[in-house]
Symmetry: C2
Subunit: 251 residues, 2 copies
């Protein structure tokens, strides 16, 4: 290609998403992305300060696309379930971005759309405004964990996967009945973690939502806007815990 084109940030992110979708294993790299764009990796560092920042932005674009096909329907539990499944499916095609999302979260428009819809659904649940932030946190933690871990399974190479399955079979089917009686007893019916993930996702989330529903005080189910913020959640205590580095992240 003779033409020297200057790529926009959006074009770079789209190319990144495309490369992530089609790269067979976990073989995404800044250099390969640059090569796919016909330029040098150093050029990309004008748009992004690091690979992480690039991937964060790409993950947010995935959320944006996921919300594009989402329409709120049904009661609050159905809305949250449908929302979560949309996000799950969107990341299913780019598992590596799901991993980044779980580790670093994202913070663009896509992320905000997801947060907004989940909060609106919770507001329709009958929970008081004081209860919602904590419940929101639990649901977000659960959904992000399930999606990211499921996606993690999608990043193992075929060779590693087969090797792991063989180890699993040996560990379960070969368990000594003297030492592992229950394991030996159930050996034939124990399934590896990667199986049946969608059903597991829905069931686990449903259990969490049912748990929340059971705690809703029997007042009117859908109150309109209540007063602004009298929330007196203790916000600071948790932020500093022992080890001075390694910190968690936002949604």
């Amino acid at each position: 290609m003779a033409g020297r084109k200057r790529w926009s940030t959006e074009e770079i992110l789209d190319a990144a998403a495309e490369l992530l979708r089609t790269s067979d294993a976990d073989s995404f790299s800044v250099r390969k992305l640059a090569a796919a764009l016909g330029t040098d990796s150093s050029s990309l560092y004008r748009h992004f300060r690091s690979k992480t920042e690039l991937l964060r932005a790409a993950a947010d674009r995935i959320l944006l696309a996921a919300m594009d096909g989402y329409r709120p329907e049904g009661d609050w539990k159905q809305r949250i379930t449908s929302l979560a499944l949309h996000v799950r499916e969107a990341f299913g095609r780019q598992p590596q971005l799901a991993a980044v999302w779980g580790r670093h979260a994202s913070s663009g428009t896509g992320s905000r759309l997801v947060m907004e819809e989940m909060l609106q659904a919770l507001r329709a649940s009958g929970l008081s405004d004081e209860e919602i932030p904590a419940r929101y946190h639990r649901i977000a933690v659960l959904v992000a964990a399930l999606i990211a871990s499921e996606a993690g399974l999608g990043t193992v190479t075929p060779g590693e996967y087969e090797q792991g399955m063989e180890l699993f079979r040996v560990a379960v089917l070969g368990a000594d009945p003297e030492r592992f009686p229950a394991l030996a007893h159930f050996a034939r019916d124990i399934r590896p973690l990667g199986v049946d993930r969608r059903a597991a996702f829905e069931e686990i989330l449903a259990a969490q939502l049912a748990h929340i529903e059971a705690a809703i005080s029997p007042s009117q189910p859908t109150g309109p806007g209540v007063s602004a913020n009298d929330g007196e959640l203790e916000r600071s205590a948790h932020h500093r815990c022992s080890e001075g580095r390694r910190r968690p992240l936002p949604t």
Copy 2:
């Protein structure tokens, strides 16, 4: 050092665990492990076919150590909760191994001990033998996802963390009230995913266990002569358990 020592597989794994525990960021590598052992990275490929296989084995050792400080107590739900918390805490000191565990599972004695205890606890729940494998699968998926994702948060570098926190603040506090009314409304009380993880872990797991309990058919809760051995694990010593050294991940 003049002395050329031949390292055993166990010594290598212990050194790997130590290096993972003390490596500031996610800077573990085969080469660094070899350097720590005073040898060349190529030597390690006599013991392990790949880095993944090495990490898998190291993860299993972590599970083994976690089970060392575990003692079954209380009803089936308490047993599963305590077991899960033990595993969580063990991996909290080696977050990168938790990530490997979530992706590749593990299949040695440590893994078997965990599976065995969880199955024994489920057998004490009153669930029928036919129901147990599916319930086991759900619990395993949930616990692995929560632990792996929490650990993933522990592998971000301080710089990335701070950058992510800033993005989160902007995304939440800077949300346009016209477009994101609920988000703007709750902005001050929405907390990042990495906060309050232990409480979230316990709550989410408790919801799942309650969900299972509600499905137990009303027969006798703990059949006395049900299985050959309801034997508790025959191990002793509370060794190092938890409190002594570093804290696990975020709280």
